[in-house]
């Protein structure tokens, strides 16, 4: 299916993404812009960006393919991926935004006041990020090969280059615009051909291939082996895994405040629900006209192949090109989000410690290139290993590590650093073990094998239990400022309260050259300085290492000028 129009479409998407990014670049001036888009992104734009980043190739191509192949039970994937945002909304969105944390390690350090917990979270972010990036790169290579016959590395390299070009100059601001653009592109790319397909299907004389559709295994739920366990495990992984994905969490930092974060998430629910109906329809249409793809093992390409099944000539080519553009946008936006979040963590935690005080932006850029290069290398090394299932398992890993850390950290004062680390080790170990064993096909029979295919129903409760039990056992080492942290996480921003002085942005700001304290010295800052100085002498009980972000001289503490009490 060599298709010149598709090549043109993919090139156009790349150029358009770069152009939108360059436009965003003009808006991205300061250091703060670079990392977090100055947190001034409106709810609708932000919601589009969140959805655009979230809807990966697994959503654009994978869902339709799975529904084509396996039917009604796979409807839990789009439902779970959307419900995951509902749970993120009700438990995490506003407190996470109010924490001021940019990454999950930031949150771990703020809440648990432990550098060890921070490092453990950093390693986990890198692991989850790479686990999610490799399937994106592989998928891009496969898609381009399907469309154009080019070797796999062409598509992989193309995604890598465009991602780098987007992230390197503009940082978060341009990325926000690009991802918002990608959401609407993906929606249109699925919606427009759908009208044509439905029209063609309705106009076809005679009954379509009904035989393939009304098969009990496909149309009725829970027909497979261990279906109830597998379904519930999938539900648990997707419902609770979304909140623990590093690239999802980073996006919340660009909301203006906690309420804006909630409203943006509500808008995300609407955008995702609207989108996810489309791949389901593609899967069903595919069952009518292209059920032979299942036997051929090419169910994943059903979205791209449907136009040529119902049309021929330039119409088919044009629609295929549009779908190819959408698919490529899906690879780009998710990879970009992952690269930004992983590179953010690498530049903060791994590089900085080694290299001392370098220029913040330069470190971030170096990390970006390093992350992209490593994932490209791993993609090439793991060629031939079936990694499609890895995306599903990533949700299980996130649900058994960061999800309990966030939920217990936000809603329970009793969580200690040791408890959180123990829980992440147990839940992460189990779910990562499942990833390794399924990826490399270490087949085991019986219930153990079933659990390893879909580990969430076991690993998530186990991780929660470990965190609670170890925390209770180590109550004595509870974080010192937990009461202040709770005020910070839960009190609305317009109420003027002392929220402590943790400020991850300061890391970057201190590294960049001109630091201008925003607020003049006032009694308020005086209070915060004294509390920070107090913290500086008493913290770091476990390793003697100090919260870098808690040291004195913090003039930009959470009491910003407009809300500062006038006394």
């Amino acid at each position: 299916m060599s298709n010149a129009a598709s090549i043109v479409a993919v090139v156009l998407v790349s150029i358009a993404s770069l152009a939108v990014g360059a436009f965003g670049l003009r808006l991205s001036r300061t250091m703060s812009d670079f990392y977090v888009a100055s947190r001034g992104v409106g709810p609708v734009l932000n919601a589009s960006a969140i959805s655009g980043e979230y809807l990966s190739a697994a959503s654009f191509l994978g869902v339709a393919g799975l529904i084509l192949a396996r039917g009604v039970d796979m409807l839990w994937l789009p439902v779970g991926w959307t419900a995951g945002y509902l749970l993120l909304l009700v438990f995490v969105a506003a407190p996470l935004r109010r924490s001021g944390a940019y990454t999950l390690p930031d949150f771990a350090q703020l809440r648990l006041e432990s550098v060890v917990a921070r490092r453990a979270s950093s390693l986990l972010v890198v692991a989850i990020g790479l686990l999610y990036l490799i399937p994106q790169f592989q998928g891009a290579g496969l898609t381009l090969r399907t469309l154009t016959g080019a070797p796999s590395w062409v598509g992989q390299l193309a995604v890598a280059v465009v991602v780098c070009l987007n992230v390197l100059p503009g940082g978060m601001r341009s990325v926000t615009l690009v991802q918002a653009f990608h959401y609407w592109l993906k929606l249109l790319a699925l919606l427009t051909p759908l009208f044509f397909l439905l029209g063609a299907l309705g106009g076809r004389s005679g009954d379509p291939d009904v035989g393939a559709v009304f098969v009990a295994d496909w149309v009725e739920p829970l027909r497979g082996d261990h279906a109830l366990y597998l379904t519930y495990s999938l539900v648990l992984a997707t419902f609770f895994g979304t909140m623990g994905l590093p690239h999802v969490v980073v996006r919340f930092y660009t909301n203006r405040d906690g309420r804006a974060a909630r409203r943006a998430t509500l808008a995300v629910l609407v955008l995702l629900s609207g989108f996810y109906l489309l791949p389901v329809l593609y899967g069903v249409i595919g069952r009518y006209v292209a059920s032979d793809l299942v036997a051929a093992g090419r169910a994943d390409s059903v979205v791209l192949e449907l136009p040529s099944r119902l049309f021929d000539g330039p119409v088919a080519e044009g629609l295929t090109a549009l779908l190819a553009a959408g698919a490529f946008a899906a690879f780009l936006s998710t990879s970009t989000g992952l690269v930004v979040s992983v590179a953010g963590v690498v530049s903060q935690d791994l590089v900085r410690w080694g290299a001392g005080h370098r220029q913040g932006i330069r470190t971030f850029r170096l990390s970006t290139v390093a992350v992209v290069a490593v994932s490209l290398l791993l993609t090439i090394v793991s060629a031939g290993v079936p990694v499609a299932h890895a995306v599903e398992l990533t949700f299980a890993v996130a649900a058994s590590t960061f999800c309990p850390m966030l939920l217990l950290g936000i809603w329970w004062r009793g969580l200690t650093a040791r408890g959180a680390i123990a829980g992440m080790v147990v839940g992460g170990g189990l779910s990562m073990g499942a990833v390794v064993s399924t990826t490399f096909g270490i087949a085991t029979g019986g219930w153990f094998g079933v659990v390893m295919t879909q580990p969430a129903a076991v690993s998530v409760p186990l991780s929660f239990a470990t965190m609670v039990l170890v925390s209770v056992a180590t109550r004595a080492s509870a974080p010192e400022h937990v009461a202040r942290t709770m005020v910070r996480l839960h009190a609305p921003e317009h109420i003027d309260l002392n929220r402590g002085s943790f400020h991850p942005e300061r890391w970057y700001r201190r590294a960049s050259a001109p630091v201008s304290p925003v607020s003049p010295v006032s009694p308020v800052t005086h209070v915060n300085q004294s509390s920070a100085a107090n913290g500086a002498t008493t913290e770091g009980t476990d390793s003697g290492t100090q919260h870098t972000a808690y040291d004195s001289g913090d003039t930009t503490a959470r009491r910003s000028q407009p809300t500062a009490r006038r006394d």
């Binding site: 009604v72 439902v79 419900a83 739920p221 509500l266 005020v487 109420i495 009694p523 915060n528």
Partner: protein, 156 residues
């Protein structure tokens, strides 16, 4: 604007408690000390409004991490957690029970709605509408909880 080290008499005209003014610089440093040892100072200045007085005092109770301040924050956390758990329970008892319902009553799959089998309708349109509805309900209620909390702090 007055500095906190030396409260001017003018500050009292706005109805602030002197203790709140003087207590401010110690608030942060007081983390190490016992918050209950804070000395109470009698209000001697004329109060323009009782509400203003209370607003300062509850906020500073929270700032100084007294037991009372913790009670206020805990009440906010509880109301928000109760709301979040309500949403979770509703979700679990509808969407979450679907697999069990499918297993217990396989006949569900035979029911058609406009030619589409019921499980397909439930797992697409109905599920998404429910998720959006719950999200909308949560956003509205949680903002109400926060408004109640800030009203409480401002003594309205």
């Amino acid at each position: 604007m007055t500095s906190s080290e030396a409260p001017e008499p003018g500050a009292d005209a706005r109805g602030r408690m002197p203790s709140a003014e003087a207590g401010r610089p110690r608030a942060g440093a007081g983390v190490a000390g016992d918050p209950r040892s804070r000395t109470r100072v009698r209000v001697t200045s004329p109060r323009t409004s009782a509400a203003r007085t209370r607003s300062v005092s509850i906020a500073s109770e929270i700032d100084e991490q007294t037991r009372l301040g913790e009670v206020y924050i805990t009440s906010l956390m509880r109301s928000q957690l109760r709301l979040a758990l309500t949403v979770l329970v509703i979700l679990a008892s509808t969407l979450g029970l679907l697999p069990l319902a499918f297993r217990a009553v396989p006949a569900i799959a035979d029911i058609d709605l406009l030619g589409v089998p019921l499980p397909w309708v439930l797992l697409t349109v109905v599920a998404f509408v429910e998720i959006i509805g719950l999200g909308w309900f949560y956003v509205r209620q949680s903002e109400r909880n926060e408004d109640d909390f800030s009203d409480l702090l401002e003594g309205r």
